[in-house]
């Protein structure tokens, strides 16, 4: 490490560093500190009394247990799903593979809770599945099965269906990255088949595997929308949400927020430590002698395609049912809708909440994306090109939002800024925009940083040598070379903001400021046509986000998957 002395201090870089740190201090450290203070300090004294309360309250301990089970079960199930899937897709060729692989990513275009609305149509007590079974005389119409297990298993199902692509992408990338010569070496020493996989291939994918697992775990553990749709309040995020009602008087919301934060951070740190100890990337890769991809033939190819089609169909049930719901004129006590209509999409335009919510979301997400792109670009530039004291601090601080769940940031903002001009109860727009921006900053930062790293400094020096000022160099050389990365990161940040759930639900109390996700939630509560209009709005969201992904994919090519793996 190069030491710093005052004489050589890069003053400009250091000033920018201080400004950026000021931003994080106000919008990351201060809210967290506020939450900690409210949970641990009573009348100026440190206390653990609220935590004792938490662990003696049977309702809350059950909620904590539920949330942990949801997180762990979801992670384990997605892993069980994804491992054979990734192995199949990376190592074998079969008909329809590229199409089906693309379809596997579709669940990512929708937050789990929107899928939950669709899923309820299919799996509810008198949903499509049970009605089909009743029709086939396989079920007693008087006593249909509750597939959701009171909502709990419904939550896990939807989380698994929605989040497994993240796991799949991580494992597939890790598998594709395994140096073929390492496997060949093992083969030459006599390992093959299952032994080869168990002893060599699988351990080599651990870093990617755990990086994916931690994202899935934190997401499922902290998901707020899905439990709300299933009306299952015995989870930590749902409790936090309900405690925002009495945020001024009830300390337990702060306590639960801290528990959520601690579990997430601890999980992330332990995985990071584990993966860090096993970072294999430093070891040189042998010459890449062709891919280890075998083309399957005959019945094996058919079996592989069928397996993938089944998984895709399963994964798309929530999306398909949301689309069906949005188009259903009549869908009550029947397997499929009996009439189709576009009236709910027409309703969106005139509806006092739905229509404006689309505009709101586009506006908030657009603003937050502008912040993300500028901030991400500047920080990436600083990290990649400048030397200044505090560089490592900036690096870890800017990536922190990966570890801090949305529900934690949202609760922190709501509480910490309640007595400031940023009070969300008066006008939530600034806090919504900033919370989106902070949450999605890692996307643009990572993308831009990768761009800087792929662009040799010499390319910039060559321009300066030929007479281009630093600004000119940035415009003529650096920006064009990393533009695709920056825009792709921005597009992902934008779609992420459009799908943001916890912040939107917690930080936007008034109708006229509702972003789409909150509008979907609120509309779904309406008895008459709620689910239909909510689904129509969900479909609009799917279209926007899918378009974003398409653009990002075009710009970044295959590397888009990397941004979802992330993890730091």
């Amino acid at each position: 490490m190069i030491g710093f002395d005052l004489k050589n201090l890069d003053t400009k870089a250091f000033m920018i560093f201080l400004v950026i740190m000021a931003f994080f201090t106000v919008f990351l450290f201060y809210p967290m500190a506020y939450v900690f203070e409210s949970a641990f300090v009573v009348q100026g004294k440190f206390t653990l009394v609220f935590f004792e309360l938490l662990f003696t309250d049977r309702f809350l301990t059950e909620a904590l247990r539920n949330s942990l089970i949801i997180g762990v079960t979801t992670t384990a199930s997605t892993a069980a799903f994804s491992l054979p899937l990734a192995f199949l897709c990376v190592r074998y060729g079969f008909p329809g593979k590229s199409w089906l692989q693309g379809l596997l990513l579709v669940p990512l275009v929708m937050p789990p809770f929107v899928g939950a609305i669709g899923l309820k149509q299919v799996f509810a007590r008198y949903g499509s599945l049970n009605l089909l079974l009743i029709d086939l005389h396989l079920m007693n119409p008087a006593n249909p099965v509750d597939w959701f297990g009171g909502g709990f298993w419904g939550i896990i199902t939807i989380e698994v269906l929605n989040l497994f692509p993240i796991m799949y992408l991580s494992i597939a990338a890790a598998l594709a990255n395994v140096d073929p010569s390492l496997e060949e070496a093992a083969e030459s020493l006599g390992a093959k088949g299952a032994t080869l996989f168990r002893k060599i291939t699988f351990p080599l994918t651990f870093p990617g595997f755990f990086a994916g697992a931690i994202i899935v775990f934190i997401w499922a553990f902290t998901d707020l929308g899905t439990p709300l749709i299933f009306d299952f309040s015995k989870t930590i995020p749902a409790q936090i949400f309900s405690m925002t009602q009495d945020i001024e008087t009830n300390p337990m919301g702060y306590v639960l927020t801290i528990v959520t934060l601690l579990v997430s951070v601890l999980a992330l740190l332990s995985v990071k430590r584990y993966v860090g100890l096993r970072s294999y990337e430093m070891m040189g890769r042998g010459q890449h002698v062709g891919k280890r991809e075998t083309d399957l033939k005959g019945w094996k190819a058919a079996a592989a395609s069928t397996f993938l089609i089944l998984i895709v169909l399963l994964a798309l049930i929530p999306q398909i049912s949301v689309i069906l719901t949005s188009l259903a004129g009549q869908w009550f006590q029947t397997i499929l809708p009996t009439q189709y209509t576009t009236q709910y999409f027409e309703t969106l335009v005139t509806h006092p909440v739905a229509g404006p919510s689309i505009v709101n979301s586009l506006f908030y997400s657009g603003l937050s994306t502008i912040i993300d792109i500028s901030l991400g670009f500047i920080i990436a530039y600083m990290l990649a090109r400048r030397r200044f004291p505090g560089r490592d601090i900036l690096d870890s601080v800017a990536m922190m939002p990966f570890a801090i769940p949305g529900v934690v940031i949202a609760f922190g903002y709501l509480a910490a800024f309640s007595r400031t001009p940023l009070n969300a109860f008066i006008n939530p727009v600034p806090l919504l925009v900033i919370s989106y921006a902070v949450r999605r900053l890692p996307y643009t930062l990572r993308a831009a940083y990768a761009g800087f790293q792929q662009t040799s400094v010499y390319l910039e020096e060559a321009a300066m040598n030929l007479g281009a000022s630093p600004i000119r160099t940035m415009r003529a050389i650096t920006l064009p070379l990393i533009m695709a990365n920056v825009v792709a990161g921005g597009v992902l940040a934008f779609s992420g903001a459009m799908m943001e759930v916890s912040d939107s639900l917690i930080l936007a109390p008034q109708d006229q400021y509702f972003p789409m996700t909150k509008a979907i939630y609120a509309l779904n509560l309406r008895l008459t046509d709620g689910a239909y209009v909510a689904s129509a709005l969900g479909v609009v969201g799917i279209i926007v986000v899918a378009t974003c992904f398409f653009i990002a994919n075009r710009l970044l090519g295959r590397s888009m998957g990397e941004l979802f793996r992330a993890g730091g």
Binding site: M1, G3, L459, E461, A462, A463, N465, L466, G467
Partner: protein, 359 residues
Amino acid sequence: MLVRVSLDHVTKTFGSVKALQDVSVGIDEGELFLMVGPSGCGKTTALRIIAGFYKPDTGSVGFDDKEVNDLPPYKRNTGMVFQNYALWPHMNVYENVAFGLKMRKVAPSDRVNRIKRVLDIVRMREFAERFPNQLSGGQQQRIALARALVIEPSVLLLDEPLSNLDAKLRVEMRSEIRRIQKELRITTIYVTHDQTEALAIADRIAVMNVGSVSQVGTPRDVYEYPMNAFVASFMGEPNMLGGRIDSISKESGLARVRIDESLVLEGRLPREFSTYSNGDKVSCFIRQESILGNEQSEQNFQAKVTEASYQGQTEHYTLELSNGSVLRAVGFNPSAGPHVVGDTMTIQLPAEKIMVLKE
């Protein structure tokens, strides 16, 4: 527009690493000046200080009589060729070469002519529309050179420009660079770790070692009259026998060096030998090519051939003297051979061919 470049007592430290320590060199107008040394000797740092990418901690950089310490790189009018060429992948050959002219706001018509001319000079006219990734290493290297030359720089800077090329192309390109440099008469500073490259093309060479300049001189100077042991051993692969000075003859500049009980060699001291005195630890350097084929001399030894390697143009031997000292020797065929392992021969070693040097 010929420019003289000078480094005056330049020091540069990175953290605790002293990259340059009190370096002073002057590069004359129109000169092809080579900086050579092992990796980490500071040659690239010196070049980047001249380009303006680093600022010296102390000392000054001068272009003619003007100090340019605080002049940013983009105002120095130097043309630099980078080790990895640094061609911009999003611009084609023409755009790459045009960039420097655009920055200088050269009129478009003039621009076209100058680009054509420079592409002719590097013999790449027909590649103007290509993108860098469609060019071979040697072609990229020519474009990098053209891009630096087209701005008619005051100083041309070359940072290991040939290190990414294969051996044959390297030899071809180095004479190409010298041809162009002489044609355009640009003051040129060229950094390399390859001493044969330096000897082959330089007007003058600066041999550098751990942050300072060991010797500056013509190729013949630094090879035949090295000022210290480092320069002697870095330029070429001479034989080295350690010993102590027995006696010095001030008039002839010769010294007798005791290698061991049975072997005393007479050799020549460097031009400046006032710091040499009896009893000093020194090394005797004998070039591999200066052992065979000498005239009769008073200093001769019996040597046994312990290894012989026929390499077509040349013949390589490992020889053992009666005291056990080992010498490697090279000679051109057919006069050098053939000798086989086990042969004994008499080798003549006139004092003139033995360089007596201190560290």
